[in-house]
């Protein structure tokens, strides 16, 4: 019996191997044919410097999120303009938010019909580029096909996108100007006579007042994803300039850190000095708050972000960043109370500037028309008419520009029934300097967004991208250990802070954090050498 089984199994495995082998052969052939084809085509034109757009092409583009209802109409106008300028049209597809993790790499892996695709450092740019998913970009091609973007783009940004010396992504020319913030209730602070403060570590009396006087409110009502590490991070940041691990970029994970105020760029793990004492300081405060009941006991199971129920009076503090709290401040204002926005800052009063790779576009490795794709990207990112179309929709229908030169909704259109809500279409990489302000932001928010720029400090490693290929299993182990032994320290839910850190350090060592550090030192040293 057993023999027969193994026979069946072997046969089937052989069969599938053959099938797959055929398929990989096909891949090879197709690839060869394509390169032949593309190298042959330009020879037809006499002048090799001129751009040859004589053949009409359809470019397939993938973005993250969902198409707003009004998208087809907008794309019709965009394509009209595209057709006129570069004889191409765009077929726009979306990868839904819930599907990114599984579908994004598959679309690239299958070599499916894709020309232009969204990419970002937080969306696996490095990993995908390492696997050969993107078309390698050359400076002369960029100058030729993307003149407008190249004019606006800081050369540092393109440098930051380099993996082993080759850039694979066109980053946005206008990275977001945002800092991490905590939002508090101004009305309650004044009501209970708590003096105004500007640093997050001074929030204690406010939390105490909320705990004492507002029985239905939890001062720090943290959720299990975003909020959980946040107050600890803010407190740490006041002792040592820090945002997130340099290796994984995952704020929930331990890893390799550096002091962004320190020009030497020295790196260290999150469980060694100088970082350790800053982190311990934060955990001790969190433990005090946790034990006094300022923090919800079970953030791990809570799925509602503090920012989402802040205006309902469930949370005393809302966490977010300069951009994503905008709608919330509007909502609170509509409920009749004003807020104060506290920016998380370093000991020197700075907040780190965003990395260059926060938003961008790449050309897929399998694209049959990379030149045309680049030209289309140039238009999408910089052409004012297209930028307004894809960001705000159709003028008069989805938005109007009012007398104060601000963007407002047309008469009769509400946020609920607008078929193209502002900035909802996933085109985050356009030149946002072309945007006008929105009419309905409350003053406290406008003040914040106008002043946040002054606090932002460029990071030494903004242009550095860690290539984690050789230590990926260590990073996976560290991520695993961090969740179990690190996250209780974020909220202070431990019996003894010092002992918990000793345990964490041991576990991280076993997970191989030293190896990540060694690799990081190697790469950062090489990077710093290129800056000189």
């Amino acid at each position: 019996m057993r023999n027969k089984f193994s026979f069946v199994v072997t046969m089937l495995l052989l069969f599938s191997l053959v099938l797959a082998a055929c398929s990989s052969n096909n891949d090879g052939n197709n690839g060869a044919a394509e390169t032949n084809g593309s190298s042959a085509s330009p020879s037809g034109s006499a002048n090799s410097d001129a751009i040859d757009n004589s053949k009409e092409v359809k470019l397939s583009m993938y973005l993250l999120g969902d198409a707003p209802k009004g998208m087809p109409e907008v794309m019709e106008q965009v394509n009209k303009k595209m057709k006129e300028s570069i004889n191409a049209t765009i077929d726009l597809n979306y990868i839904g938010w819930g599907d990114v993790q599984s579908k994004y790499p598959l679309i690239l892996a299958s070599g499916e019909d894709v020309d232009i695709i969204f990419t970002a450092d937080w969306n696996f740019y490095v990993q995908e580029a390492n696997k050969g998913a993107f078309y390698p970009l050359k400076q002369d091609e960029l100058n030729k096909y993307m003149p407008k973007q190249m004019e606006k783009l800081n050369p540092e940004a393109l440098k930051a996108a380099e993996i082993n010396g080759v850039p694979y992504m066109i980053p946005t020319a206008t990275p977001d100007r945002k800092a991490s913030v905590a939002v508090i209730r101004k009305d309650l602070r004044e009501k209970y006579g708590v003096p105004a403060f500007t640093k997050f570590s001074e929030i204690g009396p406010y939390l105490e007042a909320i705990k004492k006087n507002e029985p239905n409110m939890i001062p720090l009502n943290l959720d299990n994803q975003f909020d959980l590490p946040t107050p600890h991070l803010y407190l740490t940041n006041e002792k040592i300039a820090y945002t997130q691990p340099l290796d994984s970029g995952n704020p929930m994970a331990q890893g390799i850190a550096y002091d962004y105020e320190d020009p030497s760029g020295k790196v260290f793990t999150t469980v060694e000095e100088p970082f350790l004492s800053a982190s311990k300081y934060a955990s001790n405060i969190m433990k005090e708050w946790y034990d006094k009941g300022y923090v919800n006991k079970n953030p791990y199971a809570n799925k509602t972000r503090s920012k989402d129920n802040f205006c309902e009076g469930k949370s005393g503090v809302a966490f977010g960043n300069s951009l994503d709290v905008a709608a919330m401040t509007e909502l609170c204002a509509s409920k009749g109370f004003d807020v104060e926005i506290i920016t998380a800052t370093s000991p020197q009063g700075h907040a780190p500037q965003n990395t260059w790779l926060n938003n961008g576009l790449a050309v897929a490795a399998n694209s049959k028309n990379p030149e045309r794709a680049l030209q289309a990207m140039d238009l999408i990112m910089q052409d004012p008419e297209i930028v307004y179309l894809v960001s705000f929709g159709i003028e008069g229908k989805n938005y109007v520009i009012n007398a104060d030169d601000k963007i407002a909704l047309p008469e009769g259109v509400t946020p609920e029934n607008n078929t193209f809500p502002t900035d909802s279409s996933g085109f985050w990489f356009v030149n946002k300097d072309l945007f006008k302000p929105l009419a309905n932001w409350p003053q406290s928010y406008i003040d914040h967004i106008n002043s946040v720029g002054e606090k932002l400090k460029p990071q030494l490693y903004a242009g550095f991208t860690f290539n984690s290929e050789s230590v990926k299993s260590q990073i996976a182990s560290v991520a695993n250990v961090s969740t179990q032994y690190g996250s209780p320290l974020f909220i202070g839910a431990v019996k003894n802070v010092d002992e918990a850190y000793v345990q964490l350090a041991d576990k991280l060592k076993a997970a191989g954090i030293e190896k990540i550090k060694a690799e990081m030192e190697k790469q950062t040293t090489a990077y710093l050498a290129t800056l000189k």
Partner: protein, 294 residues
């Protein structure tokens, strides 16, 4: 169980009612909470959590789902088509296969069972599967992909085999063969009718698998007119979550988020519950083999 009724045992009957009634209560109460949550205003749920009746009654969540009715109707239509077509074909082919696996004459029946079972243990991961479907079979954005992928479940085939073994005794088949009936005739005239309760339950499960399947659509469908209901809802909830998390320009719109999740369950559950009476019909009274034999 007609004849079982004959001997009365009131104590026992009362116990049965008590136990079943108690279990039903435990299972229905959370659903009541769910429905009343879906009919509450978003701010009431955020403020005071879920409760047995709606606090601050509101249709917001449902209004949000049905904002673009044409989309929802199309999604219902797609779901119904794939569920009906897929279940009928899938159930029929599965039963045939199960019957073959049961017949002792089939010398390789155990090897064949293992051939099926092996696929539940090992798979090559998503990437080769995705490439197979999109590149070689070219099934992306087609109705057949939604029908084909969830069609068979090895467990159900093996369960069907065990049911058929229980309800179609071997001697019955032997005598039919002696009477000169062909294999197909035996299958259609004897096996299918005798397996009705099994077909009803496995059919129900297959239908549910189709109805609840958003994964196939997520992977292989991006055209609006092919989006089934569950995937439409799945997309809605993930974009509501994300837009709340990222948007600077979203405006002060109070999107129902918590209540939306609940309303979504109600909207998706409602129509498929209509299937229940059809299935339950086959559970009310037992099968008597003699009736088919004659």
């Amino acid at each position: 169980m007609g004849t079982n009724k004959l001997n009365k045992a009131p104590g026992f009957t009362a116990l049965s009612y008590l136990i079943i009634g108690g279990l039903a209560l435990i299972t229905v109460i959370p659903f009541v909470v769910l429905i009343s949550g879906s009919l509450s205003s978003e701010s009431a749920v955020l403020k005071s959590g879920y409760w047995f009746w709606p606090r601050e009654f509101s249709w917001d969540a449902y209004a949000f789902i049905f904002r673009y009715p044409a989309e929802v109707i199309s999604a219902y239509r797609v779901s119904i088509i794939i569920t009906v077509v897929g279940t009928v074909i899938g159930l029929f082919v599965s039963t045939m296969a199960a019957y073959v696996l049961y017949r002792k004459e089939v010398k390789y029946r155990n090897a064949l069972a293992f051939y099926l079972f092996f696929t539940t243990l090992f798979n090559g991961g998503l990437a080769p599967f995705y490439i197979l479907i999109t590149k070689y079979l070219d099934l992306k954005n087609t109705l057949p992909v939604l029908i084909l992928l969830p069609m068979f479940n090895v467990m159900y085939i093996l369960i069907l085999r065990s049911f058929i073994r229980g309800s179609v005794p071997e001697p019955l088949i032997e005598s039919a063969k002696i009477d000169g009936a062909g294999e197909y005739r035996i299958f259609f005239q004897m096996v299918l009718p005798l397996s009705k309760p099994a077909l009803a339950s496995i059919g129900l499960f297959t239908a549910l698998a189709y109805w609840n399947d958003w994964w196939t659509a997520m992977m292989f469908v991006s055209k609006d007119h092919l989006i089934p209901l569950q995937y439409m809802l799945y997309k809605m909830i993930s974009s509501v979550n994300m837009s709340a998390a990222m948007a600077q320009y979203a405006g002060a719109m109070e999107q129902p988020k918590e209540t939306f999740k609940l309303a979504m369950t109600v909207v998706a559950t409602g129509p498929i519950l209509a299937l229940f009476p059809f299935v339950q019909k086959y559970f009310v009274s037992g099968v008597t083999i003699g009736a088919v034999k004659g």
